[in-house]
Assembly symmetry: C2
Homo-oligomer: 365 residues x 2
């Protein structure tokens, strides 16, 4: 491979396999499939998630939404509670496509939507974000206030109510597949219970949108939900392989790096992949407090007994007993592929060890 390091390698065959497996699972389960694109931010991979088509997607930024909309994706959910001052930009995009759904989880956000809608004579497609135990965003499904907010959204003239949306991000803190499975069951059950509370108000059939890669990966079939939104599964990463969402062979991406310093006397190597090439995501430290900043692999042969113990901006420090000569190329499977991918302007797409394409992701906000 005659390009310089650090470089972000994407194995197209593995991405395709990961994409097909998840799509097929959704199809066989009879649920809607709205994969997240935040992990890769690439239109090419977005199409692979839908078997070549421009199907429904989930995004984490309006910049992603705008890029995908410009490339034919017409049904998009922006899955971060919307800031009031982003409503104008969202409305402008919504006017150009079939549907841009946004998230709200507070009366204040609903008020902002209503004010904007009244002032500009528009309406918004809105999901209520529900907290299924992650305790990041979302309303408490057991609170009467949450039911009141759901009803207010459904009745608001500014809103086309899209249903209930949740994300079991706490599955990343699980210790094994069994624990992820329990969280997956609760992710779906929580929305089913919540909408039952709303049945008397005519919301008993509200759409239930769920999704995280760990929960979507460990279940055999999706149940008790109407659509799923996993994203990381296209690439997977060292974190997912450690908690049990996938095997290490399912990880489609790695960072190609070069050994620039070799210090056998202190048991260390320095490579040219540092914090900007890998991201400083600390990985699954709840399972292994000594987990490094990625899994070091031989270029072809797989994992090596080496640990990335430190990252500075452009240096990665690897602890190893082996003397590895300066100039040797290694691959590093990143801890968190979403954060690593975002550091690159270009993905080098490989198939059978050769670069076959270059893909350009969206960037910024």
């Amino acid at each position: 491979m005659d390009f310089q390091t650090p470089a972000f390698l994407v194995d197209r065959a593995i991405v395709r396999r990961n994409c097909e497996a998840m799509r097929e699972k959704a199809r066989l389960s009879g649920v809607g499939f709205r994969p997240h694109v935040k992990t890769h931010k690439s239109v090419d991979i977005g199409r692979m998630q839908h078997g070549g088509a421009t199907g429904p997607i989930t995004v984490s930024t309006l910049a992603e939404a705008e890029l995908f909309a410009a490339n034919g994706f017409a049904d998009i959910t922006y899955a971060v509670p919307i800031a009031p001052d982003k409503l104008g930009r969202a409305a402008a995009l919504a006017a150009r496509i079939e549907r841009l759904s946004v998230l709200a989880d507070s009366e204040r956000a609903l008020n902002a939507i209503e004010q904007y809608a009244a002032a500009h004579d528009v309406t918004f497609d809105v999901f209520l974000k529900v907290d299924c135990g992650y305790h990041r965003a979302g309303v408490d499904p057991a609170s009467p206030d949450s039911a009141r907010l759901a009803i207010a959204l459904a009745r608001s003239e500014a809103v086309r109510f899209q249903g209930l949306l949740t994300h079991a991000g706490h599955a990343y803190g699980a210790r094994d597949r069994e624990e992820i499975g329990r969280i997956a069951a609760e992710e779906a059950a929580c929305l089913t219970r919540f909408r039952a509370l709303l049945a008397a108000e005519g919301l008993g059939e509200a759409r239930r949108s769920v999704g995280s890669t760990p929960t979507a990966s460990v279940v055999d079939r999706f149940s008790e939900c109407d659509e799923v939104r996993p994203g990381n599964y296209v690439f997977f990463d060292a974190f997912q392989a450690t908690i049990g969402s996938c095997a290490l062979e399912d990880v489609a991406v790695s960072v190609l790096t070069t050994v620039v310093g070799s210090y056998p006397e202190r048991g260390a190597l320095i490579v040219d992949a540092g914090a900007l090439a890998l991201s400083k995501d600390a990985g699954p430290r709840h399972l292994d407090p000594q987990f490094g900043f990625g899994v070091v692999c031989d270029l072809d042969l797989g994992p090596l007994p080496m640990r990335i113990v430190e990252l500075s901006q452009e240096h990665g420090k690897i602890q190893t007993e082996s003397p590895v000569p300066v100039g040797t190329r290694l691959r590093i499977v990143p801890n968190h592929s979403c954060l690593t991918a975002a550091m690159y302007e270009t993905y080098h797409v490989i198939e059978e060890g050769r670069v076959v394409e270059e893909w350009k992701p969206a960037r910024g906000w």
Copy 2:
């Protein structure tokens, strides 16, 4: 400020003050000044570091070197040990400017340089990287092998020997200014001792290049060195303020963010600055194991008693007892400004609370 969040704000007056103070210290000390540009990667700030001129600089990537070279910077040190397969690109750049110095710290790297030089009829400006206690890159100055490598570099026909270069990165692990001061003294003394060992070989006057922002910030005057290479001081950050390199008021940058979720019942806010807007640098945890992912400030008034306890890709979770309404804008002083700045395509440059300019940094490798 009518732009969307997250956004990277640079206070021009503080940058100017930080730039002037360091430049003046180098001038009064009578040492060469070759500031690092990796923190900002912006040609505009590179000029401010030299009072408007295009003086000598230090870079962390060849992409930075190429951008600055294209903008008139003619004397550049690339301060990461060079990978053998980057020699061609370095040689091409060196041919276009006055001097591009590279780093080597192994016989293997010297061999690669000599092979390339012989094959392409060029020579390289090369520093020997020396380890002054950080134990990242660099040779052990107490080892006879290191002296032999210095002599081999100085005698090589492929090399114009530039001297000895070190970086006291372990100053970031210091607990206070006193400890940083001791590391600063050793950073310089180590090169002085090492070159004394080389005096018999005619290298007793080899240039001594040192530099890190903590060590450069705490000394009153630079001594026992020939040039200094601090970089982070243009911006500083929450880490530097905590270990004592600067005061929090000296930090020139912050991330503007919007509260998108407010959950007083669980003592939390969600803002639209997550891991991609801030970086996952964990900050000075050796001084405060509970240090968050940045220091939350009121837009105008300074630090607030809030801690950023968790970052996911586009969500920042803040722990606070205060109910803060959705839509409120906050500023976050980043833990590590180098990593945070690198996430942005545009810096919003402010003066007296208004955006006066936009600067575009270099990106990638």
